[in-house]
């Protein structure tokens, strides 16, 4: 059956309408961030105005949001540097093991991925306080590594599953030990997957709010905490906080656009396939 042109056009328009409604909050925030307050609060909303990037400049330079950006970057990059290498090793083993033991581990990891984060935030807070680690990078990084591990292992495992066992066996016959098989044979094959896992872990860490709210302080505050605290109540700060919000969102959007092809796998952390 060939679909008729009229019904196709109708369908296309309906989906466009859905997309426009869906994107309205983002577009509106962007417009607010480049409007003077006079224009931002007019009823009915103004669509024609003189744009200004003054607020973007103010928030990042004068209000020193770059400090929070540095905190976010340090924490996210450290998390990836710890979480991905050890997770990748575990994933390699789990992709090569058979039997109920490895199934049990995989299922356990999936269950850990589902923990209510608030349940972990409490002991992390108590322990970090006992060790005087509140408002330091290590507390936050360790918490993020904890919630990252199950994700990293599942995702890397799904990439290792695509590496044929014959490749391992051929390398063994050539005299490689297990470490060499992992490091010199399997790892180069999954390198694209490794980068994707790094980027998704980075994103997970960059977006994290609850742990950051509990574990960071004045000197380690990350972007999500800073923006949540910043002037959401006060109408005078609307344009400023809109500028900050747009700025926080921007790098991720660019990242994900570039990664579009891998989204399904990344978001379902390979479990659909596993």
């Amino acid at each position: 059956m060939r679909p008729s042109r009229a019904s196709q056009t109708l369908l296309f328009l309906a989906l466009c309408a859905f997309t426009v409604v869906n994107l309205t909050p983002i577009i509106w925030a962007f417009l607010t961030s480049i409007k003077l307050p006079v224009d931002a609060f007019s009823v009915p909303p103004k669509l024609i105005f003189t744009p200004t990037f003054e607020f973007h400049y103010q928030v990042w330079v004068e209000k020193e949001f770059w400090r929070f950006l540095i905190n976010s970057a340090v924490i996210a990059v450290s998390t990836v540097c710890i979480s991905v290498p050890i997770g990748t090793m575990a994933a390699f083993a789990l992709s090569r093991m058979r039997g109920s033991g490895s199934r049990g581990i995989l299922f356990g990891l999936l269950a850990m991925r589902m923990f209510p984060h608030i349940l972990l935030a409490i002991p992390f807070f108590v322990l970090a306080q006992g060790l005087s680690l509140i408002d330091t990078y290590p507390a936050m990084v360790l918490a993020l590594v904890a919630i990252n591990q199950p994700f990293t292992i599942w995702m890397m495992r799904s990439f290792f599953m695509d590496v044929p066992l014959e490749l391992d066996e051929a390398a063994r016959i050539d005299g490689c030990n297990l470490w060499q098989v992992f490091y010199q044979v399997a790892l180069p094959v999954v390198r694209p997957g490794l980068w994707i896992t790094c980027l998704f872990s980075l994103l997970l860490a960059y977006n994290e709010f609850l742990f950051a709210l509990v574990l960071t302080g004045p000197s380690t505050k990350t972007l999500p905490v800073a923006i949540a605290e910043y002037g959401a109540e006060d109408l005078n700060y609307w344009s400023l906080s809109a500028a900050a919000a747009i700025g926080i969102m921007l790098p991720i959007v660019l990242f994900m656009m570039a990664l579009q092809r891998h989204l399904v796998r990344g978001l379902a952390f390979g479990a659909v396939k596993g």
Binding site: F12, P25, T32, L94, P116, L178, M249, V272
Partner: protein
């Protein structure tokens, strides 16, 4: 058959890390849940199941379960129905799918806190975009974030705004894996779109559906960022879910023991929900009726 000895060594670093930063804190939380422990108060004292029995007699606990169930059920079913409709639309569409799919996906990748702010600027009373639009028609708008019913509605919309794109993405990918010869033979038999979707395509991707629903229910149970920014659990306690109540107990009232017990109960409850979901869908699968 290659030798597998030594593979377990590869699990050691990650295993130690998980034990240190995940299992130990989790065990510690369960341990704390048996103590009467106020942060900054006197020494914690062991009270056995005291925190749990206190919670079971706590009206605020039961009401937070009710609100959680309402918000999880509302959000996940809205996401599923809307996501399926859009995914099927995309499946049927023969042009422009790629750019549409990409644009639709944007809300999902916005940092959750930032997403909540975006929505706040839409729903804020009087100054928000929605109110501005409604008022320009000379209609008096409801107070979206200030009245209990509307606040819950807005919170559900917030979850749906961020996670419907995820549903669309996964379901669209799933629909595309369905064997096209099956669909064609159903169409030959005169089946319309609706029949093809419900009788052929949905049964074919049942495991995937089960999987996304389970993931979304689990995540919705711990939904925090957006409620915190949009309503902070208010007005009153109208949007205070289990996670919000746990947060309030632990970090505002500093009742660490009771909060831990509540966290453990949340874990059990969400595990139970998923177990039930799987059991029900599986029984249908075996054709029990």
């Amino acid at each position: 058959m290659q030798t597998q000895r030594g593979l377990w060594l590869f699990l050691v670093p990650s295993g130690l890390m998980i034990a240190l930063v995940l299992l130990y804190p989790l065990g510690y939380a369960i341990y704390l849940s048996f103590f009467n422990y106020y942060l900054g108060g006197q020494e914690p004292s062991f009270i056995g199941l005291g925190n749990y029995t206190a919670l079971l007699g706590d009206e605020r606990f039961w009401s937070s379960i009710g609100k959680t169930v309402m918000i999880v059920a509302g959000a996940v079913s809205l996401e599923f129905v809307l996501g399926l409709a859009v995914a099927f639309g995309l499946y049927k569409l023969t042009f422009g799918v790629k750019p549409l799919n990409l644009l639709m996906f944007l809300p999902h990748i916005v940092t959750p806190v930032v997403a909540a702010l975006f929505l706040r600027w839409i729903f804020t009373g009087r100054w928000g975009l929605l109110d501005a639009i409604i008022m320009s028609f000379n209609i008096f708008p409801p107070d979206w974030l200030g009245t209990p019913g509307w606040a819950r509605f807005t919170v559900i919309l917030a979850d749906a705004w961020q996670f419907t794109p995820f549903m669309i993405l996964v379901l669209y990918a799933g629909l595309n894996t369905v064997d096209s010869s099956q669909i064609e033979s159903a169409q030959m038999d005169g089946a319309g779109n609706w029949t093809v979707l419900t009788k052929v395509m949905l049964p074919a991707i049942k495991p995937l559906i089960l999987f996304v629903l389970a993931i979304r229910i689990m995540d919705a149970f711990r939904f925090f960022d957006q409620i915190y920014v949009l309503t902070a659990g208010g007005p009153g306690t109208a949007t205070e879910t289990l996670t919000m109540y746990t947060y309030a107990l632990a970090f505002r009232l500093l009742e660490i023991g009771k909060a831990s017990a509540l966290g453990v109960l949340t874990l059990l409850l969400s595990a139970l929900t998923i177990g039930l979901l799987i059991a029900v869908l599986y029984r249908r699968d075996k054709g029990a009726f």
